[in-house]
Amino acid sequence: MHPIPGVEGFMYPNEVELQWSILIVLYPYITGLVAGAFILASLERVFRVSAVKPTYRLALLTALAFLLVAPLPLQLHLGHPERSLEMYLTPHRSSAMAMFGFVYLWYLMVVLLAEIWLDYRADIVHKARTTSGPIGWVYKILTLGSMNVSPAARSIDDRVGYIITIIGIPSAFLLHGYVGFIFGSVKANAWWSTPLMPIVFLFSAMVSGIAAVMLLYHASCLLLKRALDMRCLDTIAKYLFYVFVIDFSLEMLDLVHRIYEADESFRSLDFMVHTRLYTSQVILQILLGTCLPLALLGAAQVLRLAESTRRKLYAVSGVLTLIGIFAMRWNVVIGGQLFSKSYLGYTTYKLQFAAREGLLSSLALMLLPLGILWVLVKLLPPFEEPQAL
């Protein structure tokens, strides 16, 4: 009897191959960045945290760039992507996944595009009037025929934008909490099935989105040779620290609960965390991706550090945080498929390189939002003073 390569113990025969690949790791990662970036933007708009104002527009554009890419890993993963429209046309109402399309469209069309358009409208009209050539036409199209930028019209824009942001906050919560629900509601999978999953996903989304915008703000100031607003950076880092503490507490609560309750799945999952998931879970997610950035961000809150030190410290924390949250998504999606539902064995995930669901396409999908963001930043500069009312 020959053992199956990569399999230890007993797997049900159909379980040996993993069903959800790195592309499905990207899906919650990208939507998390969207939700987190939007929530950071709403800090300024709704909660009047004026210190983060320099990142308001950048955060919105970041959210849009990543949101446009969010469905692509799913499409690439489907056996029949040409049938995906059926999810809109004939959705199965009891399916958590079927609602994704509607949540996505709501968030894209009603929240994000509307808010960005209203915020930039005066700038777009100004550029449509002053820019010639094809770019001028792009701006003319972007005005959607509305050239009225009178103070009264701008005041309406502002009020509607404010309402949309208020609607946007629960929508962002819905978008990512819902992604967590897709996993958390699978009762057959002990690694996923917990009511904490949507909450953990939500807070980790905020952590990753805030860290991403913090890094992008940092990077764009360096690239555009603009002065970095340290008060802004300090405030973002402070919020990142607070949200991260909540996120970490929730994850630890989940962990402690599992260890203490030690149900039928515990031995199997515990073994997995100590073996196949050790590097990605213990080392990358918990130690390097959570404890270290938390310690660094905490140090910045407590100690009186020089500006240049804080700047470097924030950059390192941001990168580590993004790695940690990616590892968290990896551990949820891939980890949830490495053990048998019989709790008697384990399989291995073989990440391919140049395949449809391989490393190369994943890297391309992660770089694509940055390319889109670059175009958006060129088209709708986030750091210029908005046209006055």
């Binding site: 009897m1 025969p13 029949h80 199965h92 008697l344």
Partner: protein, 254 residues
């Protein structure tokens, strides 16, 4: 053979049309059958059946006939299984760690056991055709559906290949057909049972360990089987209302 939702509806439609024709036409008005017409099959009424299966653990000898018959009947691709057989070995009181094997899904039987003292038995597995199927619940487009006669089927012309149902099935019964890129699973040989035949696996079983069961047919032996034996379904805590009933199922089986 794949069964689509259209096929099921067609069968149901045929029943309605034939049934109403039988009711509305008096014997005198009925046209005489033409000599060229094929003999009409008795109409299949999905509403009159509720399909499941009984499995007698003590009768299963692990020969793998069922796996081979299923593979042949349903064009099951190599390396995937609509049905398979597991061999359990339990040493003493260690119920938590049974030694389970299923080489090639048990298709070619099992090698002799090295531990003569251990408790040993075979467990044939297949889709449990649950009444509250998690797979049906999660399918985003309804490509996986419950037929009116209690069989969980897949419409392969509609399946997106998202694999959510595979994640949702607690029993590991589903796989992606690599050629079609759609999900596949045991259809309880729907193309056979709607023609009055039994499933390929039941037909091939030399000890009658597996029996197709019609829970709505009062004359079906399933009722006596359920009444007279200690039966259990797999993973009852999943509350899926599975319809594959095992006689003498050991508590170590998962």
């Amino acid at each position: 053979m794949a069964t689509s939702r259209r096929d099921v509806l067609w069968e149901a439609g045929k029943f309605l049309i034939l049934g109403s024709a039988a009711v509305s036409s008096s014997p005198s008005a009925a046209p005489a059958p033409t000599p060229a017409a094929a003999p009409a099959l008795p109409a299949y009424n999905p509403q009159a059946h509720l399909w499941g299966m009984t499995i007698d653990i003590e009768k299963c000898i692990g020969c793998g006939n069922c796996v081979r018959a299923c593979e042949k009947e349903n064009d099951v691709p190599e390396g995937f299984f609509r049905t398979w057989v597991e061999h359990y070995e339990i040493d003493g009181a260690d119920q938590e760690h049974p030694h389970v094997t299923s080489p090639g899904g048990g298709k070619n039987g099992f090698p002799p056991s090295s531990d003569a003292k251990a408790k040993q038995f075979f467990v044939p597995k297949l889709c449990n055709h649950c009444m509250d199927s998690p797979c049906v619940q999660v399918c985003p487009v309804g490509a996986t559906f419950d037929s009116p006669d209690g069989v969980v089927l897949v419409d392969e012309s509609y399946c997106l290949g998202c694999r959510y149902c595979i994640q949702a099935c607690p029993y590991g019964c589903r796989y992606i057909n690599p050629a079609k890129e759609t999900v596949d699973k045991c259809s309880l040989c729907y193309h056979r049972i709607t023609q009055g035949l039994t499933t390929a696996c039941c037909e091939a079983c030399p000890t009658q360990a597996r029996q197709l069961a019609d829970l709505k047919n009062p004359k079906d032996p399933v009722h006596e089987f359920l009444r007279k034996n200690k039966v259990q379904v797999l993973k009852p805590h999943m509350a899926t209302r599975a319809k594959v009933f095992y006689r003498e199922l050991d508590g170590a089986v998962r």
